[in-house]
């Protein structure tokens, strides 16, 4: 028994260290933080002298003199500013730091040279509703000298724009003139420029946002959530759409974008649970190779899954689309910000207060360092009139791409509706008819029969190897295909209702008739912010007829799953493995380890399930298996 226990521990240790080295070509290193400094990172910016500035959710700005230090020396940290209202972005310009507090764009300057800001200049101020969800992000420095700022919607059981410019991006001049830029944002925590200076922003799954996504934003665009349109008629607004044009359910965002001027289609969908659960910062690789072979591609952080993904843009007929690739997992807390160090290492700023993350540390800064050895990866995917051409970072072994069953491609999209999130819908398998090697073995051109514009194409490669016999580090990608080059043969499929997940014996939502209208026990459970259930322990009698009510009073989706003892992590990981099928399957994997479960509940909804408590007294774990939530959201059903 003892031995077995040891074995488990060993597995755990191995498991976690493997996780940290998920991408061996990029090493994650801690930036040690002295005791007593709560560095819940909201923004990062490098100073001209190589020092790193970090603003925190507690309103401080710290200067880290040597961001490459390996010990937590308090002398390496000095507090530059304090008392700001949850600043979530930082930039350096002309001797000052610029930051966005909840209600203000602020310029911090140390005029007397004592290392502390003595000027807190209010560049521009905007109204707030008093809601906790009124976050502000930025500023992003624009090539024209102005600054871009993005403002969250409030959360009142749904995302709402309660005061002017919530749900907008604002362009602000150095003199403080506010020029509304675009709207439709829900929770625009990350935005950045691509190599051509074009603006892209990331949003989180929620109402009107079926899954995480990145959109290209031009002035006057509307990108999805209609709440911000309440202010579209205000002076200075470049958006002409109106709020009342939007019904609760509108097909797909892509079809709306094709039909209505001013609506912008997403550039890239991030399938929920697979490519993160809460997209954050966007960082362009302009390291000129110092960070590896992905120059001009973009790295997108994810807070909830403590990881960074890679996005490669394509512009077809003037509009953007992109391929997404997994990149590096295993950061210690929730990834919110990334910036480049001068040596081409990526500095990653983290926090998970209020929203749990796979990495369990409450906050931190880590560096991601390239070891100089080219990883074997898909480098990029280019759309072709009749398929995709996949380019690799290394030449591949032709023998490993000979059979068509090496490639599987599926396409799907998401609902565009006021409901929180969406399952993948209209899933269709694409037939790969031909694979042609190109670029002297550096690429493979897949001819695909039924490409669909407006759809995400999941591309999976099986056992593709390089010439040394090494497998791909990551063997799948998601390509959001908005335009097939040359018009293509693409077909449009109209949206049909989503596959409603069927009820099973593990999820009985009406009282069984033979219970004669009586339950033995009614138990209720709800949530606590930060990804927890409100009760750690539920108790029922063995064999009793139980009515369990799960009240999802949180602001994100959750389920309740009763599992066999010791299988929480296994079931949790299997739920993540469901990939794009996850939402439709309520994130409940098909395994005997699952005893009973509810559906995936939207925020502010509730479900009753009826089940017979296990006959055997003991402790049965329950868990939320919504991608990644199993890390924190768990408890015990005590059967007596």
């Amino acid at each position: 028994m003892v031995k077995r226990y040891f074995f488990y521990i060993l597995i755990l240790i191995l498991g976690s260290s493997l996780m940290a080295q998920e991408n061996p070509h990029y090493q994650i290193e801690d930036l040690p933080i002295p005791e007593g400094i709560v560095l819940e990172v909201g923004g990062l910016a490098f100073m001209p002298d190589g020092a790193l500035a970090a603003c925190t959710r507690r309103g401080e700005v710290w200067i880290i003199k040597d961001p490459y230090a390996t010990s937590a020396d308090p002398a390496n940290f000095s507090r530059f500013a304090s008392g700001l209202h949850e600043p979530l972005g930082l930039a350096y310009k002309d001797g000052s730091l610029l930051t966005v507090q909840r209600g203000e764009l602020t310029k911090l300057t140390d005029k007397n040279g004592d290392g502390k800001a003595d000027s807190y200049e209010s560049i521009a101020k905007w109204p707030l509703s008093g809601n906790y969800h009124d976050y502000g992000y930025g500023p992003l420095l624009l090539p024209n000298g102005n600054m871009m700022v993005a403002l969250n919607l409030s959360w009142i059981g749904y995302g709402a724009s309660l005061v002017k410019w919530r749900g907008w991006m604002l362009e602000i001049t150095p003199e403080g003139e506010i020029m509304p830029y675009a709207t439709g944002m829900r929770s625009p925590a990350g935005f950045g420029l691509d190599a051509d200076g074009e603006l892209f922003y990331s949003d989180n799954q929620g109402d009107w946002v079926g899954s995480g996504r990145v959109s290209h934003v031009s002035k006057g665009d509307f990108v999805g959530n209609p709440q911000g349109l309440k202010w579209a008629q205000e002076e200075g607004s470049p958006v002409s759409l109106t709020f009342d044009m939007f019904a609760d359910s509108m097909g797909t965002l892509y079809t709306q974008a094709m039909q209505v001027d001013g609506i912008k289609e997403p550039t890239a969908w991030f399938p929920h649970g697979v490519m993160g659960i809460s997209t954050s910062a966007i960082l362009l690789d302009d390291t000129k190779g110092k960070f590896g072979p992905f120059e001009n591609q973009m790295f997108i952080g994810d807070q909830g899954q403590s990881k960074i993904m890679r996005m490669q843009l394509e512009k077809v007929d003037g509009s953007y689309q992109a391929a997404l690739f997994p990149f590096t997992e295993g950061f210690s807390s929730g990834v919110l910000r990334q910036v480049w160090g001068e040596d081409g290492t990526m500095f990653v700023g983290m926090t998970n207060r209020g929203w749990a993350s796979t990495g369990r540390a409450p906050f931190g800064i880590q560096r991601l360092k390239y070891n100089g050895k080219t990883p074997f990866e898909m480098h990029r995917i280019e759309a072709r009139p009749d398929g995709f051409e996949i380019f690799f970072t290394q030449k591949i072994n032709p023998a490993t791409v000979r059979n068509m069953d090496k490639f599987s491609i599926k396409s799907f999209t998401y609902h565009y509706h006021s409901t929180y999130g969406s399952p993948a819908i209209n899933i269709e398998t694409c037939n790969v008819s031909e694979a042609i090697l190109g670029d002297e073995g550096g690429s493979v051109y897949l001819k695909v029969d039924n490409l669909r514009e407006g759809y995400v194409h999941e591309i999976r490669l099986k056992d593709v190897k390089n010439q040394l016999g090494k497998k791909l580090l990551h063997d799948f990608a998601y390509y959001t295909l908005n335009k097939i080059p040359g018009g293509g043969t693409g077909q449009q499929t109209s949206t049909t209702a989503s596959n409603k997940s069927s009820s099973s014996t593990k999820r009985v939502t009406t009282m069984p008739v033979n219970w004669n209208g009586k339950v033995d026990e009614s138990v209720e459970i709800a949530t606590k912010p930060g990804m927890y259930f409100n009760k750690e322990v539920l108790e029922v009698k063995a064999g009793s007829k139980v009515k369990l009510t799960f009240n999802n009073d949180d602001d994100m989706q959750h389920n309740w799953v009763l599992v066999k003892k010791g299988t929480i992590d296994e079931v949790g990981l299997a739920a993540i493995e469901l990939g794009i099928e996850g939402p439709a399957k309520n994130y409940v994997p098909d395994t005997e380890n699952v005893i009973y479960h509810t559906k995936l509940l939207e925020p502010e909804t509730t479900e009753d399930i009826y089940f017979i408590a296990p006959d055997k007294p003991g402790e049965y774990p329950f868990v939320c298996t919504m991608a990644g939530h199993h890390i924190t959201m768990r408890g015990i059903l005590k059967v007596k």
């Binding site: 209202h85 502390k116 000027s119 101020k125 509703s129 008093g130 207060r353």
Partner: protein
């Protein structure tokens, strides 16, 4: 002892304004008298202890209270009428009063002849150990007192319990300084209440009280009917037409609770039974539900709380005179459609009866107040921006500034260039910001705050009688520019006004609870710029340039020769002063 002259009722107690029907009541049931207070019949005191007005001869430092003829205020002096004994005896009680001390005064309130609540002057000391609110040997949690000569408010709730006497709560100037203090002694016999002064002088006014007895109201013979309802509760209308609905179930209940049924959503209940009250008099009912409810007594509608109401935020009151004995009780109730949101609470308060629930425990939320998460001031001029409650309004662009050395702090509205509040003690409770998501984002002062009007503090007044603006428009005339950190550590707020720039700085005085504010207007030709120094009920101009603002809630004195102007407003008075370009005005606030 001299014979006493009869006395007319005292000035109206502030609290009685809360007794209006329909006002929200956000404080917990305790310490919230809804019915009228009894006032101490002052004719029982020495006749020459009663005065009309009382003020300290020399503000802050005076050792004598000057008075005018009248009968509104009880003035006790160590070398004169040093004690006042109530004509009644008491056990459990709630007591509200206001007091003013001389410099160095000592005295207090003796409950049941056994336990003393000290009201000693504590001005200028750093320690709370002898501050007002000290009970027997137990010091208050902090010094929430004000300077000599200022009117201070004390509220206390005291119970004789099975385990002996307990001070449930003592609030000084709106701040809790004692909570759940069990004295560990046996309950004393009923005895009169005594006010006494051992040193110097203390003036008392508005002494309101309620004595609590053992006889309580109760619900009896309660039966309920359950109805099933389709659809959601709505903001306008949640109580259905019961006559159009079919009764699904009926039963009896020994208590009032939404939990009498297994149903959890989409239902409504009617309750009928008797309410028995022990004493004749005026009763105040408070109804708070998650959903909607209507209360009938003796067949008459007393409280209509229809619509989708929130247990935590909405409350409705109804006042009625009742005779002893049974009264027909009927309550219509619709639970909110959101299944897990619940709360059906009915409270009653009456003659000799403390506010108490008529519902069972499980029928309402019972949230425990979490401990504060204290942000200490760090050096001079600790900054903290946050949302902030000011009166009943949530301000979103507020900053609080703390001073660790002097222990004097203030909050400022950056939108309005407005000093909001000032307090001594610890700096802030930031639990609602820094724990979890920080759902409220509120910072809360850790001390008894003097709260200001919250109006823009600077304005251009085209005419002498132009009334002071209530708020700013989006584009001015004041525009926030930011703040600089001064050499000494605190912020200097900057605003654009009238083509120039205002600089506004508040610095704690080196001793005592006092802030000095300096304002300048530079680079402007504007000759009609003004500063609002203060606004309050009454502003008394004192002998040595010290104004007692808001009926001696705090002192204000202007440095130099400049003379402010007192103006009447529709609600009280205001003190304004011209802000000449390129000169500096400074004044002090002391409390």
């Amino acid at each position: 002892m001299n014979r006493l002259t009869p006395l007319v009722l005292l000035v109206i107690c502030l609290l009685s304004s809360c007794a209006e029907e329909g006002l929200p009541e956000s404080s917990p049931p305790k310490m919230a008298i809804q019915t009228e207070l009894d006032f101490l019949p002052m004719e029982m005191g020495e006749s020459n202890a009663l005065v009309g007005k009382a003020y300290l001869e020399t503000p802050i430092v005076g050792e004598k209270i000057a008075s005018s003829e009248g009968k509104e205020i009880l003035l006790l002096e160590a070398d004169g009428n040093a004690s006042f004994i109530s004509p009644f005896t008491h056990n459990s009680l709630e007591l509200n009063l206001e007091f003013m001390t001389t410099k160095g005064a000592e005295g207090g309130i003796l409950l049941q002849g056994a336990h003393k609540v000290y009201l000693n002057d504590n001005w200028g000391t750093e320690s709370p150990s002898n501050a007002p609110g000290k009970i027997d040997e137990d010091s208050p949690m902090s010094d929430a007192s004000l300077a000599p000569g200022l009117w201070q408010k004390l509220r206390l709730l005291y119970h004789n319990t099975e385990g002996g006497p307990v001070f449930d709560k003592v609030e000084l100037n709106g701040y809790t300084v004692q909570e759940n203090l069990a004295l560990g002694t046996t309950n004393p016999d009923a005895a009169p209440l005594e006010l006494l002064v051992d040193k110097g002088a203390i003036a008392f006014r508005n002494i309101g009280y309620k004595l609590y007895g053992d006889k309580l109201p109760f619900l009896d013979g309660l039966s309920y009917s359950l109805y099933e309802i389709e659809g959601r509760t709505t903001a306008e209308d949640s109580i259905p037409d019961f006559s159009a609905l079919e009764v699904k179930d009926t039963g009896t209940s020994d208590s009032l609770s939404w939990q009498v049924t297994e149903e959890r959503r989409n239902y409504a209940l009617t309750f009928e039974g008797n309410l028995n009250v022990p004493t004749e008099g005026e009763y105040m009912f408070e109804l708070r539900v998650q959903g909607g409810a209507i209360l009938f007594l003796d067949g008459k509608e007393l409280i209509n709380h229809d619509g989708e109401t929130n247990y935590e935020e909405d409350s409705k009151f109804g006042k009625v005179k009742l005779t002893p004995g049974d009264h027909a009780f009927k309550l219509l109730y619709r639970k909110e459609h959101m299944h897990w949101r619940f709360g059906l609470g009915l409270f009653v308060e009456g003659p000799g009866i403390e506010k108490m629930p008529l519902h069972s425990k499980g029928s309402v939320y019972n949230r425990q107040k979490p401990d504060p998460y204290i942000l200490k001031a760090d050096g001079k001029g600790s900054l903290h921006r946050s949302y902030l409650m000011h009166k009943d309004e949530k301000l979103t662009h507020a900053i609080s500034v703390g001073d660790a050395e002097e222990g004097v702090h203030y909050s400022y509205d950056l939108d309005n260039a407005s000093l909001l509040q000032m307090w001594g003690g610890e700096f802030l409770d930031v639990r609602q910001m820094w724990v979890g998501r920080g759902a409220e984002q509120l910072a809360v002062p850790m001390g008894a705050a003097i709260v200001h009007a919250g109006l823009p503090n600077f304005a251009v007044l085209p005419k002498k009688n132009t009334s002071w603006p209530e708020e700013l428009t989006e584009d001015g005339p004041l525009k926030f520019k930011g703040y600089d950190i001064s050499e000494s550590g605190g912020p200097v707020f900057r605003y654009a006004l009238a083509g120039g720039e205002i600089q506004d700085q508040l610095v704690p005085a080196e001793s005592g609870r006092s802030l000095q504010r300096s304002i300048s207007l530079s680079n402007s030709e504007e000759s009609k710029a003004y500063i609002l120094l203060a606004k309050g009920m009454e502003i008394h101009e004192g002998p040595n340039g010290l104004y007692g603002v808001d009926d001696f809630n705090y002192y204000l004195s202007v440095d130099g020769d400049a003379k402010p102007q007192i103006r009447q407003t529709t609600h009280g008075q205001e003190l304004i002063m011209a802000l000449s370009p390129n000169s500096t005005i400074s004044y002090s606030l002391t409390w």
